[in-house]
């Protein structure tokens, strides 16, 4: 999940206001010329042909990563001594809806994870049931798309276990995570393919650094899909849905950032 989303609204071509207007200085002429150049570059950047050409690069990157990476290759795990002293929060830090606040006030005793979509037995799993299920604990590195990294310990139930228990159809191609948080009224969601869904390190975490997840870090349940970037690590997971296609789900891009900020769906790099 990326941090500040308002930055993209800032225009890049504002001349300093205090510049004298009567003089065409060489510096102003240079900035003006550069401005024209930039406008040209931005036109290139906005062109649909260029966008689709660059998308070819993304497809190549995605395929190459899948090609050279064993589907079960484990993300690096670390020792306690290597953990970040402070693990910063990111993205939305509190869903702050009345339903969520009611659940949080009761320490999520009334919360239930819905598992549905292309499954034989839709499930409703309480937090107590999640606690009682077999779990995996891993100290891994969280890599934000922005460039920072933090190392923390995550503990939770392997997603594959839950999907098998629900009797997921073999026709399902993606798992979609519906979340309690939203940005400007647009709900957060994410999705992964079956390679990542059944990866041993892909867990629905209830604990971070040995304690129950805090609201800031995604209580009561956060996805960890360790071989991808931070925005795939959906917080406040309320519902897990198995689907054959991402079309028709919100914007169809497979996630909030994918729909609204053109982030790559496969966040492997």
């Amino acid at each position: 999940m990326s941090g500040e989303i308002n930055r993209e609204k800032t225009s890049g071509l504002i001349l300093p206001a205090e510049r004298p207007t009567s003089l065409v200085t060489r510096r102003n002429a240079l900035i003006g010329g550069a401005g024209l150049l930039l406008a040209g570059c931005d036109q290139i950047n906005a062109s649909p042909t260029v966008k689709s050409a660059l998308n070819l690069g993304e497809k190549a990157t995605h395929s190459a990563q899948r090609l050279v990476t064993d589907r079960n290759a484990l993300a690096q795990e670390f020792s306690r001594a290597e953990m970040s002293p402070v693990f910063r929060q990111n993205g939305n830090q509190n869903p702050n809806t009345s339903e969520y606040n009611t659940l949080a006030a009761n320490k999520f005793a009334d919360w239930k994870l819905a598992v549905d979509g292309m499954v034989a037995h839709p499930l409703q799993i309480s937090l107590a049931q999640m606690m009682a299920a077999p779990r995996r604990t891993q100290i891994t590195r969280h890599d934000c798309v922005e460039g920072w990294s933090a190392i923390g310990e995550w503990s939770g139930v392997p997603l594959g276990l839950i999907l098998r228990r629900a009797g997921m159809s073999s026709n399902a191609k993606y798992v979609v995570f519906h979340c309690a948080d939203s940005t400007g009224g647009i709900p957060y969601y994410e999705s992964i393919d079956m390679i990542d869904a059944f990866h041993p390190q892909t867990i629905l975490a209830t604990h971070m650094n040995g304690e129950l997840l805090t609201v800031g870090h995604g209580a009561p349940l956060r996805l960890r899909v360790e071989r991808q970037l931070g925005y795939k690590q959906a917080k406040y997971v309320m519902r897990v849905e198995a689907v054959a296609s991402l079309e028709g789900i919100h914007g169809g891009g497979g996630g909030y950032w994918e729909d609204h900020r053109d982030y790559q769906w496969f966040a492997g790099i």
Partner: protein, 282 residues
């Protein structure tokens, strides 16, 4: 120069007179020229989109983790409308250039980034698409270097060039802006060779490997990458230092082209044909 003009007669421009006497040679082969321009394009796109990516988190760290609560070794940021660069314990004001420039509070100003307005997503698309261009063209060029003998014949330092005294002589000649002339100008000079070898064998491989190290998926596939560079944040720092190395190379490279005669040098890298500079009269 004055003596040269006198020798070549009084009529006609000096350039023409020189052209009549010094030979035009075919110096730069086609694969070298193609790679030069493809690589130049991809390096510029990588640098400019890379600066936009850096703007998303303008801090660099050493170690296995690094985020806002941790200690960066480099920060390019702003307080209000004042830009600054923090390097270790030092801080310099850079308003108008870095941190805050052209009215926007980013590490690198719109003038030098792709795209010019903040978009991490678009910058990443450009960066990763041209990473393929860089990787494929560098691999092909490396193969050409080995197969054609370009590396052994033109790029490798000759035994006599490998002595410190020879290199020191070459450094002094460069400092005096005296570049090789006549037959000596047929070949690259030692400092030039070192610069090109540095780009080919140090900067390009390191920038590609540190780039791969930042990928969480490739990290799982090749755990030795993060070990090699001392962690993802360290790899990101080295990646940035490589970018700085490319920028430095480009600056020196362009300066050398201007000083050595931009027309002749450009003709050589576009058509392959190069006019040997006349022997100095002394």
């Amino acid at each position: 120069m004055a003596t040269q003009f006198a020798e070549s007669g009084t009529d006609g421009p000096p350039g023409r007179a020189e052209a009549d006497t010094s030979p035009l040679i075919y110096r730069t082969k086609l694969p070298v020229r193609i790679w030069h321009w493809v690589n130049a394009l991809s390096i510029f796109v990588m640098l400019m989109s890379g600066m936009m990516i850096f703007n998303a988190h303008p801090r660099l760290y050493w170690g296995v983790y690094g985020a806002n609560p941790d200690h960066p070794w480099l920060v390019i940021s702003h307080r209000g409308t004042s830009g600054f660069v923090q390097l270790g314990g030092f801080e310099i004001a850079t308003t108008g250039f870095l941190g805050y420039a052209q009215g926007v509070p980013y590490a690198f100003p719109p003038l030098v980034t792709i795209p010019s307005t903040y978009s991490l997503a678009d910058a990443r698309q450009w960066h990763f698409a041209f990473a393929w261009v860089l990787l494929i063209s560098a691999t092909l060029f490396m193969a050409y270097n080995l197969v054609s003998g370009h590396l052994r014949r033109d790029l490798a330092l000759k035994p006599e060039e490998r002595s410190l005294s020879h290199l020191w002589h070459d450094i002094k000649e460069h400092a005096r802006l005296r570049f090789p002339t006549g037959e000596a100008a047929r070949a690259y000079n030692p400092l030039q060779k070192i610069a090109y070898l540095g780009v080919l064998f140090v900067l390009i491989p390191t920038v590609i490997l540190t780039g791969c190290t930042m990928s969480p998926t490739l990290n799982a596939a090749f755990p030795w990458l993060a070990e090699l560079f001392g962690g993802r944040p360290s790899a990101r720092s080295i990646h940035f230092l490589c970018a700085f190395g490319f920028a430095l190379f480009i600056a020196v490279h362009l300066l050398a082209v201007v000083l050595a005669g931009p027309f002749n040098e450009l003709r050589s890298i576009i058509t392959g044909w190069y006019r040997l500079p006349k022997e100095r009269s002394k």
